[in-house]
Symmetry: C2
Subunit: 390 residues, 2 copies
């Protein structure tokens, strides 16, 4: 696996991170541009809080986990200062987006803006211990817990009582967030949250009859036969399985690692497009037509999360099956998403695997899934190699 580890490392440090350092910094108003064309040219200046937070997290994490490169720390602080200054309303909720100057564009209707802000300031505090960064992290985290039962608040359009559903994304992110923030949160809160989110992700959203993981279930955890209840998002579920594996490793729970592995394989098999290769974006558990018109597209993050998941399974279990699968997904992903000409990767392919949108970043794609995935795979496989040498 040494060859792979090196390949992911070089791609991260020579092809991907330089792209964001060069093109995404807004030196005039602060924060980052994320709407970047294939060659890095800025095509829109709006600033989406998900992506601002994720890029802060990414550069702080590189500084923490790769090397103390001052350019990376500067870049993280550059984004965090913009977020700190303009990102929140008076109650500390994070706006969804700002214009280039930092004026709010879209209200704080989306709790994931808060999740990525907490991740950002938590990671930055690890490498740059300013009290206000810790304070923002903790306050944002407390606010997330307070809002979690009705995350959309007054923007929730569901009529109460007819079909009350809960969504997979929040427990899944909390799974990851609890580890990301444990240096700043009371141990008892972290421990409870870990137990609770593992239960949600592994029991509540699990559809026993098929072995698949659902995106939405009734509040009592049962299956809901509706568009929302039937929807599957293979990439999302696979990503959640590596979050769970990180927790399982910490808890030294080999049974949980095994269960997460089985489910990740199941989602990969179910989501794999036998006709054109790659993993589909959305599916319906009863094979009915999904509502999402983009259901058959191939998205970068789905494939990167799958590679991370398989690398972790291989590290934790040394299962040859993980390696076999890793190679197949690796070949598809590198062949279709990577852009050797301008750096960074494409994000959106059609079903056939051709680039549908040539952008490198936009409203939802920023400096996150590609570099995080490359870093995770590199350091995970490096560990396998190191273990083996020992």
């Amino acid at each position: 696996m040494e060859g792979y580890a090196l390949k992911y490392k070089e791609e991260l440090l020579e092809n991907v991170i330089p792209f964001w350092l060069k093109y995404s910094k807004d030196t005039e108003y602060g924060g980052y541009f994320t709407c970047l064309e294939r060659d890095g040219k800025v095509f829109d200046t709006d600033k989406f809080m998900w992506l601002q937070g994720r890029e802060v997290w990414q550069f702080a994490t590189l500084y923490d986990k790769v090397e103390n490169n001052p350019e990376w720390l500067d870049m993280a602080i550059h984004g965090a200062e913009f977020m700190k200054k303009y990102g929140r309303d008076k109650e500390g909720n994070w706006y969804f987006s700002l214009n280039q100057q930092g004026r709010p564009l879209v209200q704080p209707y989306n709790i994931f803006s808060d999740c990525f802000a907490a991740m950002a300031f938590g990671a930055l505090y690890k490498v740059h211990q300013k009290d206000e960064y810790a304070d923002i992290t903790v306050k944002t985290f407390e606010n997330i817990l307070k809002r979690r039962d009705n995350p959309k608040g007054k923007y929730n359009k569901a009529y109460p009582g007819t079909r009350d559903l809960k969504n997979f994304a929040l427990p899944m992110i909390l799974c990851n967030l609890s580890l990301e923030l444990e240096h700043l949160i009371d141990k008892s809160i972290v421990d409870n949250l870990i137990e609770e989110t593992i239960h949600e992700v592994m029991d509540v959203f699990y559809h026993e009859e098929t072995g698949l993981i659902l995106e939405n279930v009734n509040t009592n955890g049962s299956f809901n036969d509706s568009f929302e209840g039937r929807v599957l998002n293979p990439g999302h579920a696979i990503e959640a399985m590596w979050f769970v594996m990180d927790l399982a490793k910490r808890l030294d729970d080999s049974k949980l690692i095994q269960t997460a592995t089985t489910r990740a394989y199941k989602m990969m098999d179910h989501g794999w497009d036998r006709e054109h290769g790659g993993i589909l974006y959305f599916m319906d558990i009863k094979n009915k037509p999904p509502q999402q018109l983009e259901w058959d597209q191939k998205l970068w993050w789905v494939h990167l999360e799958t590679l991370v998941c398989l690398a972790k399974i291989y590290q934790l279990t040394e299962d040859g099956e993980a390696l076999r699968r890793f190679k197949i997904v690796h070949d598809y992903t590198w062949e279709h998403f990577r852009d050797p000409a301008y750096g960074e990767w494409f994000g959106y392919l059609n079903r056939q695997g051709n680039v549908s949108l040539p952008l490198k970043g936009g409203k939802w794609k920023g400096c996150f899934h590609v570099p995080r995935g490359l870093l995770q795979v590199w350091q995970t496989l490096d560990k396998v190699t190191a273990d083996k040498v020992i």
Copy 2:
């Protein structure tokens, strides 16, 4: 054109309307099923108010404009009674969706639910003069006018003052609605509305520099260089041009007909996919990557509205160019969207023109654009033929 007129008539009466009569009636709880698989099988029972209203309108309009077939009137009343009983909140706002039994699922955040409800009850009243149908029409219409400056109300997520935009869809629909409801609304209101909506559609959303029609502009009518401000929806603009032509015909304004024709051609040329044929769904006026992942798909309604528009141009101007264009769009549309095996038409094709979702109806596709388009083209071309015989 006689051959085309007959073709559209036969398709409507023998292939499309029988499909909806057979499969969409919910005889148990009332209203219509619109989520229908290729062969008509119901795959979901949710009831979306847009599509309930549109189907009522469609059957009432067939009864009015084609023949007094009692089965059509029964079908229209069947849907209207369900809507009347379950469709509104206490303030008379129309919910976005209900479950099969009629319990509200999604709050009345969408003013187009109200627009299609008004159209439905207005058309039904024409052929079945129950006072309560007139009353519902008028009250709903008044409510639309009251809500039009802030159509999303409390569900509006835009932060006020940073980038206040207005959207093309509402003036466009009001253009059509003002004619649909003129038998029930004061003449002075209708006349003012016609003048105002023609101004909005033809002046405010028109982008002079390119000759194209925008989906969103600043509240003062100027161009806004953002994702929302740059977006083009060729099918939407082309549909609006035939609404305007209906008004222009009524006003006997040949200059307006000519302007609408020029703009419709421009949008068709701009939206036409030179690589694979068909008209693209979304574009960016500056050729930047659009936000909509489904931007390059080919949608049924876009093509039907284009055929209606071209038929009307031909009727009003006898321009050979309209006929030439009609034949090209006709050939593409009938070859790719029509389903000779099971009746009705496919709705969603990928860029290459292959069926991406094999459904005949769903959350957004119901008994509306295909039958309305076929009816409009048939009766428009029939009129050309009749005029020529005279």
